[in-house]
Amino acid sequence: MIECMNVYKRYPTGTNALYDINVKVEQGEFIYIIGPTGSGKSTLIKLLDGEEKATKGKVKVVGIDVGTLRHSQIPIYRRNIGVVFQDFRLLPTKTVFENISYALEVINMKKKMIRIRVNEIMDIVGLSDKGDAFPAELSGGQQQRVAIARAIANRPKVLIADEPTGNLDPGKSDEIMDLLERINEAYGTTILMVTHDLTLVNKHRKRTVVLEQGHIVADLAEGGYVRHDQ
């Protein structure tokens, strides 16, 4: 589903963010990317969703060689993946329902179909009663649920999330984790999640890839992680 082969990323500023990254994620897997700040986690996410191109090596997602896509093809490619960010990125002037339906409108889904799908997904993320609310009227955890709902609205095979719990307190983080696990199980969605939160990683154990200064220093199939320097 996701495959990085000898991937290097060097920003135009001269910063080397990733060195020789090799990761393979199978369909239906749930995997964490962890590492200290500046270790290249977000850079990896950007290579996966087409925001940045690898300097060297190959990035393949759902069979598509992301690095070779033209600017105009990127949006089409993104219909295959859902992306969730730490800062939610909801449209403040649109309601919860509209924020989710938006992702389906842009791919020209029929209005009737959209209504059914959005209601179904609001139910999954536990926001059935918040359809008419605006993002500002929701808690951080609820906003992130909306963002997740939007990301999975067109049933992508892959969901990538950059610190989805970064702005949430531990209780809310746990709820988001439960939700992601349910999505992973119910739809077989491959999930790649970047996080800082070691408590979370140790509690919900999954395959864990550890980045440090742009290098993969560990790939723990059984999950759980204790920082070396602690």
């Binding site: 950007k46 969703d49 087409g50 925001e51 940045e52 600017h71 105009s72 990127i74 949006p75 089409i76 993104r78 219909r79 992306v83 990125r89 909801l90 449209l91 938006y102 992702a103 409108e105 842009v106 791919i107 020209n108 939007r150 990301a151 067109n154």
Partner: protein, 298 residues
């Protein structure tokens, strides 16, 4: 699909109405100037045509070359010259009659009658050139033909005037183009501001898989709407202003050669051109603006 973009285009104009109005006004001013120039140049064109068509070259045949073979040869030579549109022949008798008919009173005519048998007129060819600025060179080439005794045409001042008008026409075209570019620039700036106001939205749209075309459409409609708004006033000014001017001078200016074009359907053509320029300017301006922004968006 189109209805969504159109609706959002309208709400875009509504959201930034102050900005939209100001750029619509800028477009209106530009289009008004363009309208004046269009009216000016189309009139110049018809005027030039009138002058040009009234300009003929009179070619007088030498008395020694009046045989039909020689005249046939001269006519063929004239027709072979580049820039010649039409050649007609008039015998010396016709010329004589034509000359006499210039005089209204019988007495004067009678004075000339005795000369009919000893006709002082030449056989003549009348030559029309394709365009006014070719008259001189055509005339010179005709003069060089064997058997041509003299060549007359409207004179240098007329030719200079025609040449000047052709230049003004050309300059008018460039001026209209330059003004259109200016209007495009103005609209582009307005749309740029509305884009920056909606930057987050555009980024999110791309994130969730909206194609560039899908993102562009509402902004392009916004530009088109602004262009249409901007063309309303110039169109009204053109229609009512021109009708007013036409009625004021009864359609004639300076001389009978310079007639105003009848208002209907002329003003509607001009209006259509203004509307088209308004739409095009709005379309191009907004298109360029969004495309530039999208190129920077990851």
């Amino acid at each position: 699909m189109i209805s969504r973009a159109l609706k959002e285009g309208f709400s875009g104009v509504g959201r930034h109405w102050a900005m939209s109005i100001s750029s619509a006004i800028a477009v209106a001013i530009t289009l008004t100037i363009i309208s004046l120039f269009l009216i000016f140049t189309t009139h110049l064109q018809t005027f030039t045509k009138n002058v040009e068509s009234s300009m003929e070259i009179a070619v007088l045949v030498d008395f020694d070359y009046e045989s039909s073979e020689e005249e046939k040869r001269i006519e063929d030579s004239i027709k072979a010259i580049e820039g010649v549109k039409k050649v007609s022949f008039s015998t010396k008798e016709q010329e004589f009659n034509y000359y006499i008919e210039q005089y209204d009173d019988e007495e004067t005519r009678a004075v000339f009658e005795p000369f009919r048998d000893d006709n002082p007129m030449h056989d003549a060819f009348y030559v029309e050139a394709v365009s006014g600025d070719q008259i001189r060179s055509v005339a010179e080439q005709i003069h060089a033909i064997e058997g041509v005794s003299d060549v007359n045409y409207g004179g240098q001042s007329t030719i200079d005037m025609v040449a000047a008008m052709i230049n003004i026409r050309r300059f008018g075209g460039i001026f209209v183009l330059a003004l259109s570019v200016l209007a495009i620039f103005l609209i582009q700036n307005t749309i740029k501001l509305t884009i920056y106001a909606r930057q987050d939205e555009i980024d999110i749209m791309r994130n969730v898989g909206a194609t560039n075309g899908f993102i562009r459409a509402p902004f392009v409609w916004e530009g088109i709407i602004t262009g249409v708004l901007g063309s309303i006033l110039p169109i009204l000014l053109t229609i009512y202003g021109y009708k007013f001017a036409y009625n004021l001078v009864h359609g004639v200016m300076f001389s009978s050669m310079f007639k105003m074009i009848a208002p209907v359907p002329y003003i509607y053509y001009v209006s259509a051109v203004l509307l088209a320029i308004g739409i095009l300017v709005g379309l191009i301006g907004s298109w360029m603006s969004v495309t530039r922004y999208l190129r920077e968006t990851k």
